[in-house]
Structures are given as C-alpha cells and as structure tokens.
Amino acid sequence: MPVQAIKSFDEFKTIINGDKIVVIDFWATWCGPCRMISPIFEKLSDTAVSEKIAFYKVDVDEQEQISQECRIKAMPTFIFFKGGEVIETITGADPGKLNQVIQKLAA
C-alpha cells in the first residue's frame, strides 16, 4: 500500500482514532535525512506489515497544526498511534530502528 499523505487536521484525528495501528512519517521538503529514509518507509508499507499497520506521511510545513499538536522538533519523526494514543516515537532517520519497531508492532 503506498504511503498516504494526511491533508488536514480533521483527517489526522480520524486516522489516529481508528482501529488499526498507524505510523506517520513527519518530514520536510528541505530535510536530507527524510529523503534518505522515505523510500524505505514506502518499501515497508508494501510488505505484509501493512495488514496490521497503516502508513501515512505529514509534510510539517504544509500541516502545521498536526505538527504542532504532535510537538515535532526534528525531522524525520515517526510516531506510532493506537486508539488515539502515541505508542512509540522514533526521531531521526534510522532505518534499522524503524524496521525493528514496525516488525515488533506488526507481530
């Protein structure tokens, strides 16, 4: 499943309060490390883990309200939600760590 961009704060609220575990990639167009890791995030979204986890992305400049709500301080930041609550956060482009957390949550 391709990674979907979240386009509004309302959409964000709906998504994180759904049944499935959600992971959001908070990225910026001017951020080099984001460019490095987003193809890997996309790749992961195409594997079996997408049955348990829904993959989204948020451009922090376009969606300031979402970014402020989530207190984003550095990019990329990956936040995992379940039932409206944050269950994990990864700051920085660490493909190994990202994969580890995703595999753990999808198990």
């Binding site: 951020c31 490390p33 984001c34 482009a93 190994g96």
Partner: protein, 308 residues
C-alpha cells in the same frame, strides 16, 4: 553451438586462464604501477568469462564508466557497433536501499551494460523471502541470511554464467591487508580477481566521478561511508569518521534535521513580518503615485493596454 565447438571454446578459455595463473608474478610486476584503464584493458584482452560484480559503490561506478569508455573507443576504432564489453552481475539481496536498486537500473541503462540480477534462491521479492524465512532474519541467523542473500546467489551466478574472472573495487590506500594488493589474484576456487583501481587514492576516485559526471548512489552524499543492506548499514555519524562521513549539507546533524524549539512560532512571526513589509511597499508605491498626481509632472506616460 555444436558440442565440438563448445568443448574447444571451453578448452581455449581454460588455456587462457591457466596461462594467466602460471604467469601471475610477471603479470603483477608489469601491472604494479598501472592505472585503472591499463589494468582493465589487460583484463579485457586476456580473460575469458570476465564479469563485473558490483553493488554500485563509488569504485564500481567508476569501473563501469571506464569500461564503457574502453568499449566505445574500441568500437570506434574497429568501426563496429558499440557494445559494452564486460557484463554486470548485481546480487539483489532484496534488502538493498531503494536508492541502490534505482541506481543499478539507471546505470545499466545509461551505459547499455548487460546486467544479470541474482536473488535469494526460491524467493524473488522481500514478501516471499519473509513469508519463507520470517522477518528480520539477519538478526535471527546472520550466517544463513548471508548465505541466502549473498553467497548462494553469487555462486549460482558464477556457475550459470561461466564466470572465470571478476573486477573488485579494492584499493591499496584503503590500508590494512589491502596495502599490498596485486593487480591480479586467484582465489581458492580458481576465480581470477582483478583490482583495477588498486593504485588510485580515494581523492582520485572522487575526482573522476565529478569530472565525468558518473552516476553514483546519492546516499553517499548523505554521509554514508558504504551502502549495504538498509537494515544493517552504519548510519553517518556513528563510529569512525572515515572517508566519506560528514557530508550532510544540513547543519543540524547527520540523521535528522533539528528544528528550533519554537520553529512554528518563528515561522508565523517571519510570515507576519513579510506581510507587513509587503504592505509597507504597497503603501509607499501608492504614496508616490498620489504625489505625482497632485499637480506635479506625471512620472509615467499612459501606456496603451497590452493586447491579451
């Protein structure tokens, strides 16, 4: 090909290889101070079953580019259609960075180089691999993982393609046991390994890439020293500085872009200032026009509207 022709061409290949192995010391003496092109040309002229196995690191890309030049120069000389003289072998572990896969496809196309891709036995996508072996298999059984994604596919490639000789990207200046590299080596399986870049420094490799617009892995610009499977490649900034680390263009660190604490606040303030400056400019312009109209010389001629 008839069985007789096949046998004799294999026999002739064997003879050529034997000749190289028997004269190794002399060959290495001759090529001791040779530059990459000379070593590559020698290999192309003397070695049957010659392939370039590469993961498209910087030296691999340079080697590919040089082979391309040699190929087109020779074609031009003989008046034949250009043909890339050394085929590529790419071992797709299924866990390469997407950027590496893109580069492999892009480079093969760019150079018109035939590329043979080999994947783990029985599984050609990461989903198939994980269905069979589970996720994060490299953590559970590193040896078997390496065997499945690298060792077995490479061995199968060499067998299926009749590989007798390969290029490596090793260089003497990489130090340790590479400091005494020879141009041509034979490994325990009888495979001939050629090190065309052995006499070049990293700076020379880098310079060649820049001077010739060689396509390379963009991850290298992001500070990665070397680029392997994405789950296990050391991130820039961790461990030794090394040849290529610290090349992030962002100031705020190598794996993330830090935000000022009050980024959004500052952004709002900056945008407000921009708007105010814009309004101030507009007001100024309006004032000027009004001044001009109050009995002063017109500062502008009336211009006929431009046709749409």
């Amino acid at each position: 090909m008839s069985p007789v022709a096949e046998t004799s061409s294999k026999a002739s290949a064997d003879a050529k290889i034997r000749n190289v192995v028997e004269n190794l010391a002399k060959i290495n003496q001759r090529l001791g101070e040779a530059d990459p092109r000379e070593i590559l040309e020698w290999a192309i002229d003397n070695l049957p079953g010659l392939y370039q196995t590469t993961a498209f690191g910087l030296t691999g890309c340079v080697t590919l580019d040089l082979i391309s030049r040699i190929s087109s120069d020779r074609a031009a000389k003989s008046g034949e259609a250009p043909k890339h003289l050394v085929p590529l072998i790419f071992i797709d572990t299924l866990y390469h960075f997407p950027q590496t896969i893109d580069l492999a496809n892009q480079a093969a196309k760019h150079y018109g180089a035939p590329m043979h891709v080999y994947r783990p036995p029985g599984t050609s996508t990461v989903n198939e691999f994980e269905a069979k072996w589970g996720t994060s298999f490299w953590e559970k059984d590193e040896e078997t993982y390496d065997y499945l994604v690298k060792v077995e596919p490479a061995r199968r490639a060499y067998e299926e393609l009749g590989v007798r000789a390969v290029f490596t990207g090793r260089r003497r200046s990489q130090g340790a046991d590479r400091a005494s590299l020879n141009a041509v080596e034979v490994d325990e399986t009888g495979l001939i390994k050629i090190n065309p870049l052995m006499n070049w420094s990293f700076a020379q490799v880098d310079e060649y890439v820049k001077a010739n617009g060689v396509p390379y892995n963009e991850l290298l610009d992001m500070g990665y020293k070397s680029v392997g499977d994405w789950h296990s490649t050391a991130l820039p900034g961790s461990g030794d500085a090394g040849e290529r680390s610290g090349r992030w263009k962002d100031k705020a660190g190598k794996t993330e872009c830090g935000l000022h604490k009050d980024y959004f606040k500052f952004k709002l303030v900056a945008e407000k200032k921009l708007r105010e400056a814009e309004l101030a400019r507009k007001d100024e312009a309006k004032d000027k026009v009004e001044q001009a109209q109050d009995g002063q010389q017109p500062t502008q001629q009336d211009v006929a509207p431009v046709a749409a």
